[in-house]
Symmetry: C2
Subunit: 105 residues, 2 copies
DNA sequence: ATAAAATTCAACCAATCGGTTTACGAACGG
DNA sequence: CCGTTCGTAAACCGATTGGTTGAATTTTAT
């Protein structure tokens, strides 16, 4: 969990993920729009891999990367725990339930 | 965005948030279950504040903290962009919609 | 056989992180 | 007033991060 959120905390890594949501890309393609060396981009990719967010298939000298969505689902579920705090309708429901508890005894 | 995900990347900070989801807590109360000094916990809290996840009300010598859910909603929305990649039902729905588009003209 | 391409590795660097300890300040409780 | 409590600030430390450059590796193209 730490690793997933940490991976998402860097803009370049989020850019990589967003582009991988469209299609598979090689390391070079992922690095191209980023204003940094290929080596630096390669390291960012390794962070995403360690977080389980990206998997790589090596064919010849090309490393083709694809999005691995499962950890994002986990993170989403984690955030969902807090949904009632920002969702007005659920807040209202909660208020009703608390009121019920109060009148119960 | 960077700041929010970075704030979520540390277990102690997530523990603070989870507890604040239940009720308002002082800095000392937030620090108590954490195996670290009060000063360290105070710094973690500042990270959460800078990310906009916590707001503090100072009354006397007590600093009462409460959860500020908006950035979590933002993060959730960001993750939602990837939902189709892990949600089978939405994938199927998307396929249907694409098929509809195809048959529409 | 050679050169070019795609990528990683290794060494290095400055900056940030996560923690400590000590000192400090402000607000209570007697 | 005095001691205690609640919390931050400052200085310090080792580890990690995010970047660089240059060399190494492997594959492909000519």
């Amino acid at each position: 969990m730490d690793a997933v959120f940490h991976a998402l905390a860097h803009g370049a890594r989020r850019t990589m993920l967003r582009r991988l949501a469209g299609r598979e890309l090689t390391v070079g393609e992922l690095a191209e729009p980023l204003e940094m060396s290929l080596a630096a981009a390669s390291k960012h990719l390794q962070v995403l891999e360690r977080a389980g967010l990206v998997r790589r298939t090596i064919t010849g000298r090309r490393h083709v990367c694809r999005l691995e969505p499962a950890p994002l689902a986990t993170a989403s579920a984690w955030l969902n725990f807090y949904r009632r705090h920002w969702d007005d309708r659920l807040d209202a429901l909660e208020t009703l339930l608390i009121d019920d508890e109060g009148t119960d005894r």
